[in-house]
């Protein structure tokens, strides 16, 4: 197997929300103690992404998928664990040392209304990353590069001097994609890139992302909550729940035989067109708070198969017995109960 583009190992990200010193003080059986409150957004996630692959991370709101994306690309420093880019550890680098890696990693955000600076023309928006990362190019080369990338994403290069408000949502997202592609990255993190768009526009943008991947050999980390989008674009899917991976499997495998009870519930909830009413698997209760994580398996409170072992022992992400490509974190699956 070729060397992985990105590998993360046991990545953990906590956010301290305890506030000032005085707010951290609490009474506990007659004594004053100082306590920290942390949101445990990502808890020990490991995976690697092969060159040219699209790995999708799916999960519901608040499961930590965006935090994971931002930690991978270095927007947040991890609490513990490590991130490797082409075999080099990058989470411990200084901002200076990080620069050559930043050039190879780019990000596309969800909302093209918020991610483009309204006071910058398309030219200024696209020029900035080129000037920053490829300072040696002359004016003609910069122009050529911009025209090329605009054509590729389907925005008329003649509109360079227009401002974001003159474009529709779909076109803005195209410009945001152009901005991330203009410096020829190897690895692109797309955080819900089509969630804010209408269905017909969504299809255009998904096709564009896939075309760009084919032409440039890009590797994607694709974050989304929409399971039908995932099925279309991703080679492998990681299902996340409360900061932990439940299941990591090739897309076709995950959709045909979901193994983890949470994956099964998620898939049964997708509305389908063909009119045959499916039974939705109902999950009991609500997602617990990421401040006080449940003991044992993180999903046990809502799982119909949970037993004593699930309540006390944390399941590890293990190869499934019938396929080495499928990783599942569930005692029930490992024991053959589910």
């Amino acid at each position: 197997m070729a060397e992985a583009i990105v590998t993360i190992d046991n990545l953990v990200k906590y956010f301290d929300i305890s506030g000032g010193f005085l707010e951290q003080l609490q009474f506990d059986s007659g004594k004053i103690v100082r306590r920290k409150t942390e949101v445990k957004a990502v808890n020990g996630v490991s995976f690697s992404i092969q060159p040219g692959e699209t790995l999708a991370v799916v999960g519901e709101s608040g499961c930590g998928k965006s935090t994971l994306a931002r930690t991978v690309i270095g927007l947040y420093p991890p609490t513990s664990g490590s991130v490797y880019f082409k075999g080099e550890r990058i989470d411990t680098l200084s901002p200076q040392q990080m620069l050559p890696y930043r050039k190879q990693m780019q990000m596309i955000f969800q909302d093209p209304y918020a991610s483009l600076n309204p006071r910058k023309s398309v030219r200024q928006t696209l020029e900035e990353p080129i000037r920053f990362h490829m300072g040696t190019l002359n004016k003609g080369e910069v122009e050529e590069r911009m025209a090329h990338v605009m054509e590729q994403v389907g925005v008329n290069p003649g509109w360079k001097d227009r401002f974001p408000h003159e474009f529709s949502g779909g076109q803005r997202q195209r410009i945001a994609i152009a901005r991330s592609l203009v410096i020829d990255p190897l690895f692109v993190v797309a955080d819900e890139p089509v969630s804010a768009l209408d269905v017909s526009i969504q299809a255009q943008i998904l096709n564009l992302l896939m075309d760009a991947q084919e032409e440039r050999g890009l590797t994607y980390l694709f974050i989304t909550h929409d399971l039908s989008v995932v099925r279309h674009i991703a080679a492998r899917v990681a299902v996340m729940y409360l900061g932990t991976l439940c299941e990591l499997a090739p897309t076709s495998e995950l959709y045909s035989t979901p193994r983890h009870p949470y994956t099964q519930a998620l898939l049964s909830a997708i509305p389908v067109l063909d009119g045959k009413k499916k039974k939705h698997i109902k999950l009991a209760g609500e997602i617990p708070t990421p401040i006080n994580l449940p003991t044992g398996c993180i999903f046990h409170g809502r799982c119909i198969h949970a037993d004593d072992r699930c309540r006390s022992e944390i399941p590890e992400l293990m190869e499934s017995s019938d396929s080495s490509e499928v990783l599942v974190a569930c005692h029930g699956v490992a024991e053959g109960r589910i």
């Binding site: 017909s200 389908v272 067109l273």
Partner: protein
């Protein structure tokens, strides 16, 4: 008699540049226990349709033509005072974002009692009893205790259920749900959809479900209107529409859905080129013709009427080639 009948409804907004017609000749009806879906992309006019029914079109917009009949009575000519006895009482509305529609500084008990007392002479105690019953109806655990809690103490899915409970307080005949699950996760969306269906049956209500999601429409509704640029372009039984869409736009929308449509060889989604026109610059003839791959000469000159498809009484399509079959030619 139908519960709700809308005939030739036209809504326009008076702008400085002239009148902008947001809804053009909309006609549909809704029966008891019926679940009607309204689908379209943003800007198609689906929310305006919902607002028009309960007379909530705000200035500079107004209903410029047509009739809205609720149980045989005209709604569009009622005064604001008369309308208030119907809106939120006989016809309730549920909105998209459960974070925005509840007042964050009042307990949900206060908000529920307030709603009931606005429409009925009822004591605080009786109102609370009704509220508890309705919260139970939407499966909120220990409802009596929950009444004294504030919206921030509930999760998104529970908030949406509380909003449904508020809509149910006055035992309405119709619920208009405007994108009720768009802000929610899929597992919670599935719960809310099941709940809405169950309520239609048990409470004899008509449901008008406004959404952009064809999958949701296919699961919940019995009949569906597809809207494009302020017009109904296709209406049919949901099962007929899903198995055989007759308007090129409907077909395009379905094919553009990842995982549902037919992918071509390179595994690309079939896309509809371009975007929906701005309502001020609608093309002459069929409003969809600039994006339609089956466009003929007649499409750019003549506006297609919403015509019945022979052999199917519930099916209307506005396309010159709906019956001749643009699919083949």
């Amino acid at each position: 008699m139908q519960l709700l009948e809308v005939k030739n409804l036209e809504v326009s907004f008076a702008l400085r540049q002239g009148d902008l017609v947001a809804l053009n000749d909309i006609s549909f009806s809704l029966g008891k226990k019926e679940r009607l879906g309204v689908v379209g992309e943003s800007g198609a006019g689906k929310s305006v349709t919902g607002f028009a029914v309960i007379n909530l079109i705000s200035k500079p917009g107004k209903i410029t033509n047509g009739e809205i009949l609720f149980e045989g009575k005209r709604l569009d000519t009622l005064s604001e005072k008369e309308m208030r006895t119907i809106r939120g009482n006989r016809i309730s509305m549920i909105f998209q974002d459960p974070m925005m529609t509840l007042n964050p500084v009042l307990t949900i008990g206060t908000q529920m009692v307030e709603t009931l007392q606005a429409h009925r002479k009822i004591s605080q105690k009786e109102a609370e009893a009704v509220a508890v019953k309705k919260l139970e109806r939407v499966h909120i655990p220990s409802p009596a205790r929950r009444l004294s809690q504030y919206p921030h103490e509930f999760s998104g899915g529970m908030r949406q259920r509380i909003i449904i409970a508020i809509a149910l307080l006055t035992d309405p005949s119709i619920i208009i749900a405007d994108e009720p699950t768009t802000a929610l996760d899929v597992t919670i969306q599935a719960e809310i959809m099941d709940l809405l269906q169950e309520l239609c049956n048990s409470e004899d209500m008509g449901l008008m479900l406004i959404t952009h999601d064809l999958g949701v429409v296919a699961e919940v509704t019995e009949r569906v209107l597809v809207m494009y640029a302020g017009k109904i372009i296709e209406t049919a039984k949901t099962s007929d529409l899903v198995s055989n869409p007759l308007h090129p736009y409907t077909r395009g929308l379905m094919n553009a859905l990842p995982g549902h449509g037919t992918c071509d060889t390179a595994n690309r989604l079939q896309q509809i080129p371009g975007t929906m026109p701005n309502l001020t610059e609608i093309a002459p003839g069929c409003s969809f013709h600039p994006r339609c791959e089956h466009c003929q000469d007649i499409c750019s000159s003549e506006v297609p009427q919403l015509r019945k498809i022979s052999g199917n009484d519930s099916r209307f399509v506005s396309c010159h080639f709906a019956e001749e079959g643009w699919q083949n030619g």
